[in-house]
């Protein structure tokens, strides 16, 4: 079974530039998550999708971050414009279904973003 795929793996940009990350979850997984992990900290949930609908985006900085999940499969996370404090690893995860005991999340390899 293929795992969660993410690209790119690394990205270096200057502040005020834009960047986009892509995630392909495990086939058949209804729930998709984007996390931000700053060095030395635990992952912080940015946004959670159930199929193609958003169920939680309370910690997403909506003035600069946006995310979509077209057709309930792939997802993209965009930052525009980037700030220095956005330097982090962006992790995508998926789970079969966020209810009914199917909550194990499978994480992708992450995208390491450095904002200069």
């Amino acid at each position: 079974e293929a795992g969660v795929a993410q690209s790119p793996r690394y990205k270096i940009i200057e502040k005020r530039q834009s960047v986009a990350f892509w995630c392909n979850p495990i086939s058949g997984h209804a729930t998709l998550y984007w996390y931000q992990q700053i060095l030395g900290q635990g992952p912080k949930l940015l946004i959670q999708f159930q199929n193609n609908g958003v169920v939680d985006d309370s910690q997403l900085p909506k003035d600069r971050f946006s995310a979509e999940r077209l057709k309930g499969v792939d997802s993209t996370l965009k930052i525009q414009p980037a700030k220095l404090e956005d330097s982090a690893v962006y992790l995508c995860a998926s789970s079969l279904w966020a209810r009914q005991g199917q909550e194990t999340q499978y994480f992708g390899p992450g995208t390491r973003l450095l904002v200069l």
Binding site: G42, L45, D56, T104, P109
Partner: protein, 111 residues
């Protein structure tokens, strides 16, 4: 706001010794998760604890959950070097299981 705290934050132990990592969470939780993260790698799911008194074991790791105390523990038995990693607990709540992660415990097992 749900908060999840782990202690210790750093743990250096010798091979063969036993130790426990503690995870406290601030409000009612439906699920408690444990993950492992190797340096530069992504997170690997270890355990999902569903109810009060739940205990799960895999190899030298055993996790338990006390919902009344809002406490989960990850016990390491006879540690080996391969267990060196950062361990995260995370608490899930709500209908769609919004997950909040702890700060992590960096474990170093010394031969």
């Amino acid at each position: 706001e749900l908060k999840v705290e782990q202690n210790p934050l750093f743990l250096s132990m010798q091979e063969g010794k036993n130790y426990t990592i503690y995870c406290n969470y601030s409000t009612t939780s439906d699920r408690l998760y444990w993950y492992r993260q190797d340096p530069g790698k992504s997170l690997e799911s270890l355990f999902v604890l569903l109810s009060n008194g739940a205990v799960k074991q895999e190899g030298r790791l055993m996790a338990s959950l006390d919902t009344k105390a809002r406490l989960s523990t990850l016990h390491i038995t006879a540690a080996v070097h391969d267990l060196s990693a950062t361990y995260f607990c995370a608490s899930g709540a709500g209908g769609y299981q919004k997950v909040t992660f702890g700060t992590g415990t960096k474990l170093q097992v010394i031969p």
